[in-house]
């Protein structure tokens, strides 16, 4: 027997349904700034052998404005993904699951160490 089924359309603004979905969309949008940073990094790497050009690129007003705008978005992107790492990395110690905070915390520690190392090399 066939029946006439009703198909409800997906609302165009489905992501406004709750705060979690809004945060998800913000996280997705921050990818644009991560990509921007990646392009900026490639440009900087291309000038790494020319100290003057490297500094000019880094300090030019456009680059400064971009970094001021992009930094909070990239930080948001990093923090939200680091907080989600225990979902993807599940470790067991025998029958006990390793505390998810240890997984996320490990990423933060690694982040601080790598950032410190880069600063050390740069300075």
């Amino acid at each position: 027997m066939t029946t006439k089924e009703y198909h409800r359309p997906m609302p165009a603004l489905w992501w406004l349904h709750n705060s979690q979905l809004i945060l998800f969309m913000i996280r997705e949008l921050t990818s644009v700034f991560v990509a921007g940073y990646a392009v900026f990094l490639i440009v900087l790497i291309s000038k790494v052998n020319d100290d003057r050009a490297f500094k000019e690129t880094l300090h030019c007003p456009t680059a400064l404005v971009f970094q001021i705008i992009a930094l909070p978005f990239v930080l948001f992107h990093s923090v939200t993904w680091f907080n989600l790492t225990p979902k993807a990395i599940v470790l067991f110690r025998g029958e006990e699951r390793v505390n998810p905070l240890m997984i996320a915390g490990g990423h933060y520690v690694l982040w601080v160490l790598v950032s410190g190392l880069i600063l050390l090399v740069a300075v």
């Binding site: 089924e5 009703y6 997906m10 349904h17 979905l21 997705e28 989600l84 979902k87 025998g94 029958e95």
Partner: protein, 250 residues
Amino acid sequence: MMANQTISLEVFRYHPETDEKPRYQTYQVPFHEDWVVLDALNYIKDQVDGTLTYRWSCRMGVCGSCGMMVNGDPKLTCAAFLKSYSGPIRVEPLTNFPVIRDLVINFDDFLHKLKEVKAWMIPKEERPLAQGEYLQTPAELAQFKQYSMCINCMLCYAACPVYGLEPKFLGPAAIALAQRYNLDSRDGAKDERAEIVSSSEGIWECTFVGECTRVCPKHVDPAGAIQQAKVINTQDWWLAFLMPWGKKSS
């Protein structure tokens, strides 16, 4: 609230024989502290309007058949207490599925996907009964136990915007159940399932919204299962790429 007070329910109604579009019908039901939304629907069905159609069975959060949208959120109506809501409670069928009648959805697509991912045990090797059980240690059980709690209620599908936008997506529960068997030490069909699970309609369609995990009444964490499947799939791909002569990781 006092025991003699009432609460109103705005219920989604759709009769395919007569209705072109769904409509909402408001019912006043007695408010009781210990009543859940399903009790209110049963009251309407028994006392007010026998034409109201919906699914339910166990009334104890096990059968997974009474899932509906309650004020826009996917819920097991047997676990959604009236006292948790103020004002009218809007009850609708689970979103992202076609509606057959009133609060009843057509979930053939979900059943088809369960079959596609082979969400059942396929032993590494068949053994005669005389050899006894397929034994498992508590540590091996712990690897997949969480995912075995799925009751197929489909709240995760109703919550998933990816499934809503792309119905070909395998969806949270089917992938979580595939992962449940992939992680089972007694199972040997991970590679068979990988063909569909790691396809473009499988794990890579998921953008990790996380709503499936939020609404899961059994704390299965389908979003986590999908991300773990992505990690394992990526490891397998790299191993196959770097060591084509070698065996895939198990």
